[in-house]
């Protein structure tokens, strides 16, 4: 059975290779710390679940220190000129699209069609996290296709990916670091403190005030946590359930749905949601790390206003 451990090993092996190549990249002024960064990332993927948690915590601090003190720099990656690329594009044509499309294609195939496939009574893929297993295997399939198409070996693909990886740099691990912050926040009672403040600040008998507090509270707390899932139990437990459902008789289902989507408006506006907002900015080589957030605010704010209007009407109407 293929489970997520195998995909972690795959990614760990990939980072280890990147670390080794980085160590030998003499054009990188900080090649030792760059290599150490990816080596620690490799270690956490290969053996993270077998090392003591406190040691892993120290690894997290080390990763942040390398990233924060400018230890990640760019090197040289056997790049080709724009002219050569245009010539290759003309030669290979639409065939270039196929490996790229294999990534979502194979992921879906495994996650949706073959997720319960069995061979001789044994599950082919683990029942949990099938989409991620699919993604990992899809990358292998797409890499094979891309190598076959371009007549290159996988080592060249990894060499080319270092160019992308080093320009994303620390942003690549930021979603993971934020997740650790989220767990410290919830273990330290940040959510209760926020709910306490909001509850003491709003008048409970005014429906509009309660709706505003719930929708804006969801958006604001999502911006703090970077994740609407973390905000939902805190804000719904602190405001939505006592004030709106029990106090004003709101319909629980529609209130929750619109409340969660108010939180999503917050996700569009916060650097804490690094995987949606900061990583793409790095991936697209934007000069402004907050460029994607800037592009989204114009959608997020009017949409939040729409959510408030919907929340004022829908949960209080009999359908």
């Amino acid at each position: 059975m293929i489970d997520l451990t195998l995909i972690y090993w795959l990614a760990g092996g990939y980072f280890a290779w990147v670390a080794w190549r980085g160590l030998n990249d003499l054009d990188n002024p900080r090649r030792h710390t760059t290599a150490l960064f990816w080596a620690l990332a490799a270690l956490s993927l290969l053996a993270g679940d077998r090392l003591p948690p406190a040691l892993m915590g120290a690894v997290v601090v080390a990763l942040a220190a390398i990233a924060g003190l400018g230890g990640l720099r760019r090197g040289r990656y056997r790049e080709t000129s724009g002219e050569q690329q245009t010539r290759e594009a003309a030669r290979l044509g639409n065939r270039l699209f196929w490996p790229a499309l294999l990534i979502p294609g194979v992921t879906l195939l495994i996650a949706v069609v073959f997720n319960d496939a069995q061979v001789a009574g044994i599950r082919l893929f683990s029942a949990t996290q099938t989409t991620l297993i699919g993604l990992g295997l899809a990358c292998v399939a797409a890499l094979t296709a891309a190598c076959w198409l371009t007549r290159q070996w996988p080592g060249e693909a990894i060499e080319q990916s270092r160019r992308l990886l080093d320009s994303i740099g620390w942003a690549a691990l930021l979603p993971l670091l934020l997740a650790t912050l989220g767990s410290v926040f919830s273990a330290s009672g940040v959510g209760d403190a926020v709910a306490g403040i909001v509850q003491s600040a709003i008048p409970g008998d005014n429906r509009l005030a309660a709706v505003l507090a719930y929708a804006l509270g969801m958006a604001a707390f999502t911006m703090i946590m970077g994740n609407a899932f973390a905000a939902f139990p805190v804000i719904t437990g602190g405001i939505g359930l006592p004030l709106l459902v029990h106090g004003h008789g709101a319909d629980a289902a529609s209130l929750a749905a619109i409340g969660m989507l108010s939180g999503y408006c917050g996700t569009l506006m916060t650097p804490m949601a690094a995987n949606f907002n900061l990583v793409p900015a790095a991936l697209l080589e934007l000069k402004d790390p907050y460029g994607v957030i800037r592009a989204q605010i114009g959608t997020a704010l009017p949409l939040l206003a729409c959510n408030i209007a919907l929340m004022y009407v829908i949960p209080f109407t009999t359908w």
Binding site: Y14, V190, A256, E285, G298
Partner: protein
């Protein structure tokens, strides 16, 4: 109620506002929050380590990079731009709106991994949008290119967020149902999921309007640049 852990929130906000390195801000905020909440250093490190190990799947998207790096070395970007330029009637605005709609509808059906920043935005959507804009208004300035790419990334996010919530097996819907069940309110996932539709329609309308207004602004800027090029200013 202990309000001290809120220092961690303030720390993060201040760190991002001062544009300090986010990785450093986040980890130091975690340390500070844990310590003021009365935990010792070892416990905080253990919390870090456990959360980091449990959430390792968040870096698996990097596995797509070798494929994309290799294909880009062999002209994927150039080909995507040429391909869209040949497509008649394909403007940047129409391309992005079509992508937004497809992303929303496929996310509604649970096909979340059909798109994404490393999978589709960087290798396909952004070069195609640039190609379509260039074939209409000529070469883009660096600033225009940056704003266009940011809009592409934003379009993927909006499409994903305001589609996935309508899919009943999606984590958010199950989270809401589970939360209510714990509080004695029994709901069907479908009841929750369907109420995501009004917001999804609003999101599509608002973002479509913004895509087209961005396109008009690009055209205006290109015209202004062209007139200035034809009539060079004589004043010193």
């Amino acid at each position: 109620m202990n309000y001290w852990p809120l220092i961690g929130v303030a720390w993060v906000v201040a760190g991002f506002a001062l544009r300090l390195n986010p990785a450093l801000v986040v980890v130091s905020a975690g340390l500070v929050t844990g310590l003021v909440a009365g935990k010792d250093l070892l416990t905080v490190l253990e919390l870090f380590g456990t959360a980091f190990t449990n959430q390792r799947y968040l870096v698996l998207f990097l596995l797509t990079l070798p494929v994309i790096g290799l294909l880009e070395r062999h002209g994927l970007k150039q080909h995507a731009q040429a391909w869209i330029a040949r497509l008649r009637g394909a403007t940047m605005g129409r391309l992005l709106v079509a992508y937004l709609g497809l992303r929303q509808v496929s996310a509604t059906l649970g096909l979340i991994s059909l798109g994404g920043h490393p999978q589709t935005v960087r290798p396909l959507l952004a070069p195609m949008a640039e190609g379509a804009a260039q074939s209409r208004i000529g070469a883009l300035t660096d600033d225009q290119r940056q704003r266009l790419r940011a809009l592409c990334a934003g379009t993927d996010n909006v499409g994903l967020f305001f589609g996935e919530d309508i899919f009943i097996a999606f984590g958010a819907v199950l989270l809401m149902q589970g939360f209510y069940a714990e509080n004695g309110i029994v709901l069907e996932p479908l009841q929750i999921a369907l109420w995501g539709i009004p917001t999804a329609l609003c999101a599509f309308t608002i973002h479509t309007g913004r895509i087209f207004s961005f396109e008009r602004r690009l055209e205006r800027e290109a015209r202004a640049l062209a007139t200035r090029a034809i009539q060079p200013e004589t004043a010193p």
